[in-house]
């Protein structure tokens, strides 16, 4: 460690490399251990979102589904902010792309989950699987019908 490194450390400018090593390992091991390839994980993620969408309207943009490992147990953490609940759930065989609309493409086009460096953080600060943002009271019945398939 050079004097400059030392000063940077003292000023809190730089994380010690051992801490970085631990954080990088934890992330990479969560994926190694799950034995899911990124493609399958992405597929699962899309299907989970579709199911949840049947019951509540969620904010697709800020949804996060990631893997996290602690004590050799890997957990799938989903942080799905709810915009509003649906009064009647959509039927199971509803037209998925129709429900997801333009937003659905965003989900599919997301980079591989491993690239989401903030994944662990987002999942970490929210132990619940569903996080509600603002009032989640039932809204006017017209809204859900708008996304109902014809």
């Amino acid at each position: 460690m050079t004097v400059l490194d030392f000063i940077n450390r003292l000023l809190g400018r730089e994380k010690p490399s051992g801490t970085m090593a631990r954080e990088r390992l934890q992330l990479v091991l969560a994926h190694d251990r799950s034995d899911l390839n990124p493609e399958l994980l992405e597929q699962m993620r899309r299907e989970i979102l579709a199911v949840v969408q049947r019951y509540v309207e969620i904010d697709i943009e800020s949804c996060d589904v990631s893997l996290e490992t602690e004590d050799r147990v890997t957990a799938l953490l989903a942080n799905l902010p709810i915009k509003r609940t649906r009064e009647f759930p959509l039927p199971p065989d509803h037209d998925q792309p129709g429900v997801l609309g333009g937003e659905g493409k965003n989900v599919a086009a997301d980079p591989a989950p491993r690239d989401q460096a903030d994944g662990a953080e987002v999942a970490g600060n929210d132990d619940a699987t569903l996080a509600t943002e603002g009032p989640a009271a039932p809204q006017n019945p017209e809204k859900p019908q708008q996304v109902m398939p014809q």
């Binding site: 460690m1 030392f6 450390r9 003292l10 000023l11 809190g12 994380k15 010690p16 490399s17 051992g18 801490t19 090593a21 631990r22 990088r24 390992l25 934890q26 990479v28 091991l29 190694d32 251990r33 004590d71 050799r72």
Partner: protein, 280 residues
């Protein structure tokens, strides 16, 4: 009776020594642990299961005394005691050398179990030095063991590979699995420029069997083919290997994290600042 029954019914402890990644100290640990256990009065057989790249004979200084190998024992062209190479200073310790690398082509898990079973009949401890990797050679070796020691170093690549191996061992019903952390550099750990002991044990979630400090004497002992544990006053790494042997035998020897034991001024200063200011 399957070949594995001979291993499971024997009173001997058949222990796999593995790491996933190469070059982290599997063979060094096997050699030193073998000598240390023999010095504690145990009958020990060490089996070099790294048929592709065998080295255990070299680390034990027995390379010139090999006549037969595991290959001839399996082919029944020699008896086991003809193939076993006894250690000069520690006659309680015997090596069963790896055969020709071409053995890899035909060796089955059952063959490996047969060999381990034969060794278990006549020993207190059978140490199997696994090859690096997680391919068939590793699986053959793991399939013949009842318990395992995973050795790793505080580096991301070694820890990741160790994690893969631990996952595989869990599916193969090898237990208990214990951890040895090798090449520990207390000074670097104290200033958090290296994965700490707690980091590695937390991530891998295994009980810690031993901590071995980085020690230049290991190189010297390898050059000579004389494991450190042969010495009466061993260097820090040698003492660590002796402690591992004692813990294996059930003795309670406290594990001291050397990075927390004696810190330099700089590390103390950084730690003090970290605690008081919460800077990082």
């Amino acid at each position: 009776m399957t070949p594995m029954d001979a291993v499971t019914t024997a009173s001997a402890r058949t222990i796999l020594i593995c790491s996933g990644k190469g070059g982290v100290g599997k063979t060094t640990l096997t050699a030193n642990l073998g000598v240390a256990l023999a010095r504690l009065g145990k009958t020990v057989a060490v089996l070099d299961a790294d048929f592709g790249l065998r080295n255990l004979d070299l680390l034990l200084g027995l390379e010139n005394r090999i006549i037969y190998t595991a290959q001839e024992v399996l082919a029944a062209t020699c008896r086991l005691d003809q193939a076993l190479v006894k250690h000069k200073q520690q006659p309680n310790l015997a090596l069963l050398p790896a055969g020709n690398p071409r053995m890899l082509e035909w060796l089955t898990p059952e063959d490996m179990q047969t060999i381990a079973g034969l060794l278990a009949e006549r020993s207190d401890y059978v140490l199997i030095d696994a090859p690096a990797g997680i391919e068939q050679g590793f699986k053959n070796a793991a399939g013949a063991a009842r318990e395992a020691i995973v050795i790793t170093t505080p580096e991301v690549s070694a820890v990741r590979d160790a994690d893969r191996v631990i996952g595989l061992l869990a599916t193969m019903d090898v237990k208990p699995v214990q951890l040895v952390l090798n090449r520990v550099r207390p000074k670097m750990m104290a200033i958090q420029e290296m994965l700490g002991v707690d980091d590695v044990t937390d991530i891998l979630a295994l009980p810690l069997l031993g901590l071995v400090q980085e020690d230049e004497r290991v190189i010297v002992s390898t050059n000579r083919g004389e494991p450190l544990t042969l010495e009466d006053n061993p260097s820090p790494a040698g003492q660590a290997y002796l402690n591992i042997a004692r813990r294996l035998c059930g003795e309670e020897i406290p594990l001291i994290d050397p990075s927390k034991q004696r810190q330099g001024l700089r590390a103390r200063l950084i730690n003090r600042l970290r605690k008081t200011t919460g800077l990082f």
